[in-house]
Amino acid sequence: MSLLEARGIVKTFGKLTALDDAGLTVEEGEFHGLIGPNGSGKSTLMKCIAGAEAPTAGTIRFAGRDIGRAAPAERARAGLSIKFQITSVLPALTVYDNVLLALQAHSPLWSLILSRTRRAWDVRVMQTLEQFRLADRAADQAAALSHGQQQWLEIAMALASEPRLLLLDEPTGGMSLQERRITGELLLPIKQRCSLIIVEHDLDFIRDICDRLTVLDQGKVIECGTIEQIQASEKVQGAYLTRV
């Protein structure tokens, strides 16, 4: 059984059809890339999986459970975590508190009221920050971080609750070459911990870390396979690669 099975996803906004019978499957431990030209529906598909958008039609099963109608919080608690395209760290809070906020998200409310886990989470917060090269910025407000560092912080937050599947929507958007390289280095070790769906325009970046790719064009899946299969696909070359 696949970890994630999204089938027949249709999403319309008025007369515009953003997704037309799209879908993808992700196995445990797999790094799956989602590519396609601008406006092909990649982010919409991610949002449908995470619960930010309700699909017009189609089914989404995660770990054997139908999550198509579940609220975003329930999907997160089931083990699905997302980092959106637009960075959304909490700028007024410290870097440390951003990670603590993510770590304690699944704790019972009474334990939060009594602050029973604050001390216990401390080591985890610092380990997470060190892993993402942010430990020395722990006490700074998140707003003071550079764009790249904010992206790393948000990935750290998305990973904090130990999800089974992480969704990353353009994690290297707006980053320098150096920051992209570091992001790749930061992402590789998480393969031991969870599966990944990543939307990315940088094909070199995606080639380095992904096991399989799904290619979307005009809301439809035009190809799915390994990097080599995608590179050899005439459909992809015709519909996508020739346009970029």
Binding site: A50, G51, A52, A71, P72, A73, A76, R77, S81, I82, F84, S88, V89, L90, P91, A92, L93, T94, Y96, D97, L100, L101, A102, Q104, A105, H106, S107, L109, S111, L112, I113, L114, S115, R116, T117, R118, D122, V125, M126, Q127, E130, A135, D136, A138, A139, Q141, M157, S161
Partner: protein, 331 residues
């Protein structure tokens, strides 16, 4: 700066009755009760981003419940009527909150604001038209609050009772907003959608904090009823609900002490201006409120407390944190 302000306020209010007459003591007791109400509002708006124009419903309903207990059942013991007032505020907040805040997706700020405003308006109309509740006149001649055989009449004893309750509630609220739950509320206020995607059940968080606010407002309503000796429909209405919002905005939200400062300054200005400039004082007060809200959105408290301090830190102090990192990376 915040703890210093809190201690200063405590010292001033603890010593105040020693230097003022009974008339002013009664006035400042009323101020303390309104501070309680304002803190209840700050808890939901300043810390959780829930805008309520219905705090008076929770306040007034608890006041009416306490008045009915005293009038119909002869119950005046503080140990019974005040918990009953808390229970009334809590229950009503849970009912209103369940309707306005629960659901698959989180409800919007305007929906909650209008919903609570409607509740406030409806409750006032209901009280005005209900004979059992005394109609337009409310319920007069409520007997004094008692503690054992001792009657707590308005004056220094009632003042210190109100102050004691206020200090306990303030400390509990302070603990709550600086707890891990408070961090979740801070997240809610900053970016509700992000917090939901982290796995927080946002409607439940909101309902809990709204219920806490209801309990505090109810306690204030119970105290107010016995302090004034009667309850009346305006205690439930839109005017008082709006006044509570103005207290907090004027003083500054998200610090607790700011909401208290707002009540003290507005009520004192109102008290003195209404004596000297009876006809124009509401206009002067309105202008002052407008100026503060337009030119100092953080309220009066923003003069003393920085934004960074207002939000605060929920993790360990920075120094210890750096030490921990140094230890961790050391070979």
């Amino acid at each position: 700066m915040l703890p210093a302000l809190e201690i200063l306020a405590l010292v001033v209010f603890a010593l105040l009755p020693l230097g003022i007459n009974d008339y002013l003591t009664v006035f400042f007791t009323r101020v303390l009760i309104l501070v309680l109400l304002s803190i209840g509002f700050d808890l939901i708006w300043g810390f959780a981003g829930i805008m309520s124009f219905g705090q008076a419903v929770l306040f007034g309903s608890a006041g009416y419940a306490a008045a009915l207990l005293a009038r119909d059942l002869g119950v005046t013991s503080a140990l019974l009527v005040l918990p009953a007032a808390i229970g009334m505020g809590l229950l009503l907040a849970l009912l209103i909150g369940a309707f306005l805040l629960l659901g698959r997706n989180s409800t919007g700020l305007v929906f909650v604001a209008l919903g609570t405003l409607t509740a406030s308006y409806t409750a006032e109309r209901l009280a005005r038209g209900w004979y059992y509740l005394g109609g337009q006149n409310g319920i007069p001649s409520i007997p004094s609050l008692t503690l054992g055989s001792y009657e707590i009449d308005e004056g220094p004893v009632f003042y210190y009772l109100a102050l004691g309750i206020l200090v306990v509630v303030y400390v509990l609220c302070r603990l709550l907003v600086r707890s891990q739950f408070g961090l979740a509320l801070a997240g809610l206020r900053e970016q509700e959608t992000r917090v939901a995607f982290l796995g927080y059940r946002v409607p439940h968080l909101k309902l809990i904090v709204f219920a806490c606010s209801g309990a505090i407002s109810g306690l204030a309503g119970g105290l107010y009823c016995f302090h004034e000796g009667f309850v009346w429909p305006s205690m439930l209405g839109v005017v008082l609900s709006t006044q509570v919002v103005l207290y907090a905005l004027f003083g500054g939200v998200g610090t607790l002490i700011g909401a208290a400062l707002g009540v003290v300054v507005i009520e004192m200005l109102g008290f003195w201006l209404s004596e000297s400039y009876q006809k124009i004082w509401p206009i002067i007060l309105g202008m002052l409120l407008l100026l503060v809200i337009m030119f100092r959105p953080t309220g009066l408290i923003g003069l003393f407390v920085s934004e960074r301090e207002r939000i605060g830190q929920f993790g360990r102090p920075a120094k210890r944190r750096r030490d921990a990192v140094a230890r961790h990376v050391a070979p």
